[in-house]
């Protein structure tokens, strides 16, 4: 009975905690287009708060924070933030504004509130304690469990619309036409007061009418302040210029005296009328914009707090749901949409006289990116969903694997490798279509030209023939340094001290590489190399082409064509061994596994760097000696992509830190501490 009771109580507790987390999640509007989730619960399960506090104390973080806030803060818990929950940052796009919001879970509202600077006026808006930034473009409200943050960025394209300018009384930039702007500006504040009602939030704004009118008063005050500011700042420049030594202006009294003298010299201030007009315009435009933003963010915040919005529903493919290793997750609703939002579409459209850029579509849809801590490894992995058509193209392009015959060259002693496998036939076939489809759409005038271009490309380029020459799989292996004989110039003196230049040789450490790619038709390479032989630039010895003049500094290059693979490297012994079938593979299993599984892979064995530095006798600053030595304990740094999985393109970036701490985060904390000491 007792067991059942305990079990039931546990279930209830779990349910409660989930309900708590869900509540935050539910507050997110349904149509957000970007969401960053910071999982502090996971973070502090990976790192003990005691240890984090110790590190932050060593870095004087709390001391600096305490000083700046005039509060005593000794530990991260003092911030009042719930460390066993998740925080969210999100954006929501509208035609006119991009809202940026954050939901931060609180554990102790009193502690949180203690950080509000005493001069900040706390008011109650929508039933919640609230503060605003001076220009009211940022609002922070909080209840017992959550701090809500909201700000917004108005879109220039929206403000440039004639109807919008008229509605809010926004004047033209006086640099274009600075006469008569004052007339337009006189009524601007009133105009914006009327116009803000016209935003989508009519109902909400009506509800917050009181706050709105308070806002107008504030804004009027701001506008006046801006006027003063402009006169003063503008004049300061003039006055400071007139001082022989402006370095002497150090205290406020001095500045005050300058300000005072400005009013006495008002004629000077207005010498540059266009400048003054511009700064007046800027101040007034900014105050109108601030008023618009403050109204809209208020309305947005109200909708979120009161639950007026439909809640965000996790879409299919969203990967941000609980994984105990994930400390942060980023989600983008549509990468194409994001592109369009941040692209200065108006400017491009006007400059190139092209159609609507909103038609520009790459076929990139939802994207997910997770930042994971996996023992001593830090991983950033993500997926980009593609629309059906693009997905089909990508699947064809990335359907090719690396030629298995190449695996044996992934040597255990190699420093790293880079592999890329694409289907060159599919690539050549689809890329013109892809360009025609996605770029042709936004330049309708040239749609036909794109079509013709694509067709021409198709006719001229025989994809099948090209794909035979260059199949599309590549492997580049950076082998370790090996000793190689190089020639250098020295001087020989006879007994009468006449000297002559002589060639000497010495053994030098040179990093060796081997690049290989598959080819079913090597005639092109053979003919090119033969041409080099005829020109005496290339030497053909025992079936190996030796290219000597391209880069004498390093060494010669050797080309070998064998078993459907073109080999290019600078290690004569290796190429000769491959040619004579005497090459003894010493394959690195882990590298082979990665190369096999991925369409793209770049991997570097970080632990080999210190030896490399030593062998190449590279100069390393003494300060960095211990950090360089540390690299010997690192694992691999890699970027990989297995290509397409379903309709999404996958990728991962990771680094393995030394396996001496509890996990990668502990190692990073230690590294930060040591770096701070070094400095």
């Amino acid at each position: 009975m007792n067991t059942k009771l305990i079990f039931a109580a546990l279930l209830l507790l779990m349910g409660l905690s989930r309900a708590n987390a869900q509540n935050h999640f539910k507050k997110l509007p349904a149509d957000i287009n970007f969401l960053a989730t910071f999982d502090t619960k996971n973070l502090f399960q990976l790192m003990d708060t005691k240890d984090v506090n110790a590190t932050l104390n060593k870095l004087d973080f709390f001391k600096k924070l305490s000083d700046s806030l005039s509060q005593d803060i000794h530990q991260i818990e003092d911030l009042g933030i719930n460390l066993a929950s998740k925080s969210y940052v999100f954006t929501r796009l509208a035609d006119s504004i991009t809202f940026i919001g954050a939901l931060i879970p609180l554990s102790d509202v009193k502690r949180f509130q203690a950080f509000i600077p005493t001069h900040k006026k706390i008011q109650v808006v929508d039933g919640l304690q609230t503060i605003y930034s001076v220009d009211r473009s940022i609002r922070i409200s909080w209840d017992e469990n959550t701090a809500y943050v909201m700000t917004g960025v108005l879109k220039d394209s929206y403000l440039d619309r004639e109807d919008v300018k008229e509605r809010y009384g926004l004047a033209e930039n006086p640099y274009y036409d600075y006469y008569g702007t004052d007339d337009v500006m006189v009524d601007s504040i009133e105009a914006v007061a009327d116009a803000t009602y016209e935003y989508d939030y009519v109902d909400t704004v009506m509800d917050s009418a009181d706050a709105f009118y308070a806002g107008i008063e504030d804004t009027a005050a701001i506008a006046i302040e801006y006027d003063d500011y402009d006169v003063v700042s503008d004049s300061n420049l003039i006055m400071i210029d007139s001082y022989d030594d402006y370095d002497t202006i150090t205290d406020n009294d001095m500045l005050d005296s300058i300000g005072y003298s400005i009013y006495e010299n008002e004629e000077d201030v207005y010498q540059d009328e266009s400048n003054t007009a511009y700064y007046r315009w800027l101040a007034q435009t900014d105050s109108i914009k601030d008023l618009i933003v403050s109204e809209w963010i208020d309305a947005e915040m109200t909708n979120i707090i009161t639950g007026n919005y439909k809640s965000f529903v996790v879409p299919k493919g969203f990967t941000g749901k609980s994984n105990k290793n994930t400390v942060a997750h980023y989600w983008i609703k549509s990468v194409d949409e994001l592109y369009q939002n941040f692209m200065p579409t108006g400017i491009i459209e006007q400059a190139f006289g092209i159609g609507s850029l909103s038609k520009l579509k790459y076929g990139y849809e939802q994207a997910n990116l997770s930042f994971d801590v996996d023992k001593n490894k830090l991983k950033l992995h993500g997926a980009l969903n593609l629309d059906q058509e693009t997905s089909k193209i990508f699947k064809k392009i990335y359907d090719k694997k690396l030629n298995p015959k190449m695996y044996k060259y992934l040597d255990k002693d190699a420093l790293g490798f880079l592999s890329l496998s694409i289907n060159s036939e599919a690539y050549l076939k689809y890329i013109p279509q892809y360009i025609q489809k996605y770029y042709g759409a936004f330049v309708p005038r040239y749609q036909e030209a794109f079509s013709v271009g694509a067709m021409l490309f198709d006719i001229i380029v025989d994809e099948k023939a090209v794909a035979k020459v260059f199949k599309g799989d590549n492997l580049f292996v950076l082998n370790g340094v090996t000793k190689q004989e190089i020639t250098y110039t020295d001087y020989e003196y006879d007994e009468d001290y006449n000297y002559k230049q002589i060639e000497k040789t010495k053994m030098d450490e040179i990093p060796q590489f081997l690049w290989m790619f598959s080819s079913d038709d090597m005639r092109l390479f053979e003919q090119l190399l033969e041409l080099g032989v005829n020109q005496e630039e290339v030497l053909l010895e025992n079936g190996i082409y030796k290219i000597g003049k391209i880069s004498r500094q390093f060494s010669n290059f050797y080309v070998l064509m064998k078993d459907g693979i073109v080999f290019l490297g600078n290690d004569e012994n290796q190429i000769t061994a491959i040619k004579n079938n005497t090459y003894k593979p010493n394959v690195d299993g882990a590298s082979m596994k990665i190369a096999k599984k991925n369409r793209f892979a770049a991997l570097f064995h970080v632990n080999k760097i210190p030896t490399l530095i030593e062998e190449l006798d590279l100069p390393v600053s003494r300060d960095l000696d211990s950090l360089t030595a540390d690299l010997a304990q690192y694992g691999d740094f890699y970027v990989i992509s297995p290509g397409m999985k379903g309709n999404s393109f996958q990728g991962e970036l990771g680094i393995e830190f030394p396996d001496k701490d509890k996990n990668a985060l502990y190692f990073l904390m230690d590294l930060i501490e040591r770096l701070a000491v070094t400095r």
């Binding site: 190089i486 250098y488 007994e495 009468d496 001290y497 000297y499 100069p619």
Partner: protein, 224 residues
């Protein structure tokens, strides 16, 4: 003297200094009237793989690595100054970026021209070159004098280099060869020697000793 020219481009030499080994050869052929020909060679070919790698970088240990264009421009500037110097003629230079060898040669009408030249260059590179080396030739007594003071500037710059970069100078050498039309009667530098035919004096020293001042290039050479 031309060693100083090459030294003047501090940034370039610092980078070269990272290249572990290099040779500077200064060769002066004097005629009996005091005119002659000077040739200076900077040879980095022994460490060409390292120089080539360093040239790929933007900076090493906070020292900016000059590009090929910058090096070429510096040399062109020097050639330009030389051509405008009174008493200097037949100025030639070469840069071999495959083997990293740079040469600079010119004729001079008298040793005063060499001294004027060092002064001009010290102005250009804002370093006190002429303070280190001056040449004199007394035609009537047939005595050639080189006065040399170890450069405090060079020593100061050198001590600024980090230990690992200083180490790089271990395998760097400076060689000076003076040739004369008449046989050499005597020379006074203990580290220099007279050739078998007695018409040349050579001094080969490590760069480190030169910078530290343990080797002095001063010499008084009396001719028959």
């Amino acid at each position: 003297m031309l060693k100083r020219i090459l030294f003047s481009s501090v940034a370039i030499i610092l980078v070269f200094s990272l290249s572990s080994c290099f040779d500077i050869v200064e060769e002066i052929n004097f005629q009996s009237n005091g005119a002659g020909k000077i040739k200076a060679t900077l040879n980095l070919s022994k460490s060409k793989t390292k120089v080539a790698s360093l040239m790929l970088l933007d900076s090493v240990n906070g020292i900016k690595v000059p590009s090929k264009t910058t090096i070429q421009k510096e040399l062109n500037d020097i050639v330009g100054i030389l051509k405008q110097t009174k008493g200097i003629s037949q100025v030639n230079s070469s840069l071999d970026f495959n083997n990293y060898i740079a040469t600079l040669e010119c004729n001079f009408s008298n040793v005063a021209a060499l001294n004027t030249f060092t002064k001009t260059l010290s102005t250009k590179f804002k370093t006190n070159i002429s303070g280190y080396t001056t040449y004199a030739y007394d035609a009537s007594n047939k005595v050639f004098v080189r006065k040399y003071n170890a450069s405090q500037d060079a020593k100061k710059e050198f001590t600024k280099l980090k230990g690992e970069n200083q180490k790089a100078f271990n395998d760097a050498y400076f060689t000076s060869i003076y040739r004369f039309a008449e046989p050499v009667k005597s020379q006074q530098n203990s580290k220099a020697s007279i050739s078998s035919n007695r018409k040349a004096v050579m001094l080969k020293t490590g760069m480190l000793e030169l910078i530290n001042g343990t080797t002095n290039l001063s010499n008084t050479i009396a001719l028959n």
